[in-house]
Amino acid sequence: MKIRDKAFVVGCAAAVLLTSLGFTGASASVSPKKAITTKPVTLTMWWWGDQEAPGAKLWVDDTVMAYQKKHPNVTIKTVLQTTDGLVPAFAAAAAAKKGPDLQYFWGGIYAQQPGWDGQIAPVSDYIPASELKHYINATTELSFKGKIWTAPWYVNPSFPVLARTDVLSKYNLTVPTTWKDLLNVCDVLSAQGVPALAGGVKDGWFGGWLYSIIGGQSVSSSKDVVAAVVGKQKFTDAKHADWWTRLQETKEHKCWNSDINSLELYQAQQLWKDGKAAMTVVAGPDAPNFANAVGASKVVVMAMPKWGKGPFAGKMGSTSQTIGITQWSKNKEVAADFLMFSHEKAQLNNWFKRTGSMPADDRFNLNSVKDPVKKALFQSALPGGPYLENFIPAQLDTDAVFTNVQLVLNGTKTGKAAAADMQTLMERLRKTDRKLVSNFTAWSK
């Protein structure tokens, strides 16, 4: 019996056992793993990730090649998407019911919504629960009514603040750990014409990061956020709105580079690399690369300085970037088999080797990580808090968070007005998306 077949038997047994013990993260009706077809199959995968996990493209090429070698009848075509094009390109494909067999999704709502819209098939229909239970964040972000929509690929510790001790010490400053410290650092550095934090909000995305890492400090759990989405709480309530005031404070204390509104996120991070800013915020998978670029010994990787009293204050969030199987794919079993293949030990190790970031699988041996920066990041991601941006409607994120962060940091809107705007838009979204409340309610259960 082949090793994979053995694993299958063990997996099935584990699934039955877990189901009987009340494991509800995945479907109870687990599809047994079948031998994949020997007929010629072509899969298309649209993906993203090389932007935040450089080296991902090499891993994709390696993995596809290895899978094709194992299954010569399968051909996998991969298409790397742009950041701005990832969601719209898939929306267009879904409207035409034609496009990729495998599609990359950010976690949480970005994977839930295509599931609610019938654009993807739950991976839990094709991947045994015994296998899925190893996929990090699968049940916290991706499950819905007992099914799991997509398969986590790699973990995004979200989002670390990188502080340059060389820049801070030049002005007799230490790494700030509290909000008060941070504002003090901002005051001192801005007086010297040096931004404490480098950021770019022109493309909007950074706004969502700030919401998650500052706003996450005052909520108790993702359920709080969902409660505000469905109308049981309000985005003007202190626990949801105070972060806007904190954001306003960063503007008032001149924490950011003055051109934050005219720079894209990745452009702004370059200021930090160039030593023109003391701190910046980066994507978790890319943090080790940033640290190594300027010298790891000069860099402290940490969570956003603490201001809130919530359980996640001073902690990083954790989300997994994922791959789903499209509803129109004619080769769902093969697609699922490829996903499982990508979680085999050789591929997990190769992911770490190629990208230096953490695969979303608890079978990855953390002891093999020697780099202290990476190790600290990975360890912080495992018990990480919810990544808030993934628990609100995507439209609320783009139309209220992205836009109001730009305006608050431009100084044309107050934090209070931004919170009110977010609440107004949420109320409107409950009218325009007639299924929003029921979907979010079901998701939060």
Binding site: N261, S262, D399, T403
Partner: protein, 310 residues
């Protein structure tokens, strides 16, 4: 003898196709355009019918005018329409600049080909290229502001695309820069085809540069300028998406400072996954554009009649 009528460009054309082909049937012209007409009806007709249907439905269920109510009460849609309206103010600027450039090129004796190419070049540049170049150039610490600061104009170094108060006007200026080449070439082509006798006669009568071109040249260019004005008005209402998308990363920011109706439609359909609201907004935009097109034909007919009567 074949009779001629002036077209919108003032160029004479055979009155009847039948006169040329020898056919006298009234259905002749329609037969000629039938294949192209069928294609247009098939492509646009189907799309418009589908658009209308979608705008009255939600996930396949009939919802009456609910989508229209949601779109028309959406503050973002109103902002988008208002921005399109503001962009219309660039049309007279475009027409004036195009006329001026065309006249200057017409009067230029040396290097006309070079100047003509230089003016037309922005028009043939791909919009994404323009977006990237201007996006870099107009950053707060970009090349333009660095140059301004170096020259001592610190106060003029604004956050051109990052300040919500400036962004739309900056975008208008970029659109003018790109679109003026089209108008210039269009007007210049007509200008070159004008009978030189009238211009020479005016010069002999002592008309200076301004009088010559305002009193003699401009009236003769009226049809082509009107065509350009209507064309650019349609551009401002329904063709500025590319500019906004590439220069704001598809966000219409900062805030909602540069959101236009097309971006609203795009975001509704592909980012927010509300195809029904997108269809409704598109239908409203189509109606608004139709008003311009009808207006264009009406003005054109009156202009032609006026020219013909003269």
């Amino acid at each position: 003898m074949i009779k001629s009528v002036p077209t919108e460009f003032g160029i004479t054309a055979p009155r009847k196709l039948g006169a040329v082909t020898g056919r006298s049937s009234r259905s002749g012209p329609f037969l000629w355009i039938l294949p192209a007409g069928m294609c247009v009806i098939l492509i646009f007709g189907y799309s418009i019918i589908d658009l209308v249907q979608q705008s009255f439905k939600y996930r396949g269920d009939w919802v009456g005018f609910e989508n229209f109510s949601l779109v028309l009460t959406d503050p973002l849609f109103r902002i988008a329409i208002f921005h399109n309206f503001l962009l219309l103010f660039t049309v007279p600027i475009l027409a004036s600049l195009s006329f001026l450039c065309a006249v200057l090129l017409f009067e230029t004796r040396k290097g006309m080909k070079f100047y003509r190419s230089a003016v037309f070049l922005p028009y043939i540049l791909p919009i994404p290229v323009i977006g990237v170049v201007f996006g870099q150039l107009l950053q707060l610490n970009g090349a333009l502001n660095s140059a301004l600061r170096a020259m001592g104009f610190e106060n003029l170094a604004l956050d051109w695309l990052g300040d919500p108060g400036q962004a739309l006007w900056t975008m208008s200026a970029i659109i003018i820069w790109k679109e003026v080449g089209f108008g210039t070439i269009l007007i210049l082509a007509r200008l070159i085809s004008l009978p030189l006798e009238t211009i020479e006669a005016a010069r002999i009568d002592g008309a200076g540069f301004f009088r010559l071109h305002l009193k003699v040249t401009l009236p003769q260019l009226k049809p082509v300028i009107l065509f350009y004005i209507i064309n650019e008005a349609i551009v401002m209402v329904s063709w500025v998406f590319n500019y906004v998308y590439v220069m704001t990363n598809g966000q219409g920011g900062p805030g909602n400072a540069t959101v236009v109706s097309e971006l609203y439609i795009y975001r509704s359909a592909f980012q927010n996954k509300s195809p029904e609201l997108a269809a409704t907004a598109a239908l409203l935009l189509l109606l608004a554009t139709l008003i311009f097109i009808i207006g264009f034909f009406k003005i054109q007919r009156n202009t032609n009649r006026g020219v013909f009567n003269e």
